[in-house]
């Protein structure tokens, strides 16, 4: 793989990984808020 290919791969993993965690966290937050409403 060319140099820029490795760079692109690394940046995709970094930004993609952090974005995936952020999306997952927002889903967990939404589920927790829904659960709080159900328990009220």
């Amino acid at each position: 793989m060319a140099e820029w290919g490795w760079v692109g791969f690394g940046f995709a993993v970094a930004y993609g990984g952090l974005a995936a965690y952020l999306v997952g966290l927002r889903r967990r937050l939404k589920a927790a808020r829904r659960r709080r409403e159900e328990l009220r």
């Binding site: 793989m1 140099e3 490795w6 940046f11 993993v13 970094a14 930004y15 937050l29 927790a32 709080r36």
Partner: protein, 242 residues
């Protein structure tokens, strides 16, 4: 603009600026463009240090004050620390393959970082394994304080032992041994990752607060049934008896 919306916007702007700076910074004399991976690998590693330092503060705060807010802070930061350490390991591997020729090697920095990752993964497992909130907070606070010892060991591993990983170029005694344009791009990316960390930490603390409230609500709902659940079954109702 609301105060809530400022942090996501700042993180997005800083990440975009960091990406541009990483692409515009000069290439390395020896590694060429591959060295640009430093602009995500190093911030991920530093943010892991910061996250575990926040876990240390939260753990020490809980041991001192015994208030649940400190425990939630420690737990939230530990999860983020594991994410950033995992990312630093992955990105190091992606950088290592074209430069060293291997995805993984038993280098002291790599081994100590992997150990750091697994110990804090254990911290998260410990939190899930204990139901009693007080016991969970106490045991994880002790681990949160003790486990932090690894952070300086990871950082100094490249100084103490000889290996493939390069020694520190910025967080070292004396001036940084890095081109000032590269340093500026690196610090911009560190600022971007720090803003994202603050955003994630805020949301993870909120999640921990909601989970604690749900635990309280469930405990309150189950309270009247607790006595009934331990009553012995009456003989005539027991199964298998005519």
């Amino acid at each position: 603009m609301t105060r809530q919306a400022r942090l996501p916007l700042a993180a997005a702007v800083l990440l975009a600026a960091g990406l541009a700076a990483a692409m515009l910074a000069p290439p390395d004399r020896f590694q060429g463009n591959l060295q640009r991976l430093m602009y995500v690998h190093v911030p991920a590693a530093w943010l892991a240090y910061l996250a575990f330092a926040v876990t240390l503060v939260g753990s020490a705060g809980w041991l001192w004050r015994r208030t649940p807010g400190w425990d939630r802070l420690a737990a939230a930061a530990a999860e983020l620390g594991v994410v950033f350490t995992g990312l630093a390991l992955l990105l190091g591997s992606i950088w290592g393959k074209p430069v060293w020729g291997v995805w993984w090697t038993w280098d002291p920095r790599l081994v100590t970082t992997a150990l750091l990752f697994f110990v804090y993964l254990g911290y998260l497992a410990l939190r899930r394994a204990i139901v009693d909130r007080e016991v969970r907070a106490r045991r994880s606070a002790v681990l949160g304080v003790v486990a932090f010892v690894q952070v300086p060991i990871v950082h100094l591993s490249v100084v103490w032992w000889r290996g493939l990983h390069q020694p520190p170029t910025v967080l070292r005694p004396g001036d940084p041994t890095i081109d000032h344009r590269m340093l500026a791009a690196l610090l911009l990316n560190v600022a971007a990752f720090t803003a994202l960390f603050a955003l994630l930490l805020r949301q993870r603390i909120e999640l921990a607060r909601l989970e604690a409230a749900a635990e309280d609500a469930l405990a309150a709902a189950e309270q009247p049934l607790a006595g009934a659940a331990v009553q012995a079954p009456r003989l005539e109702e027991a199964p298998g008896r005519g």
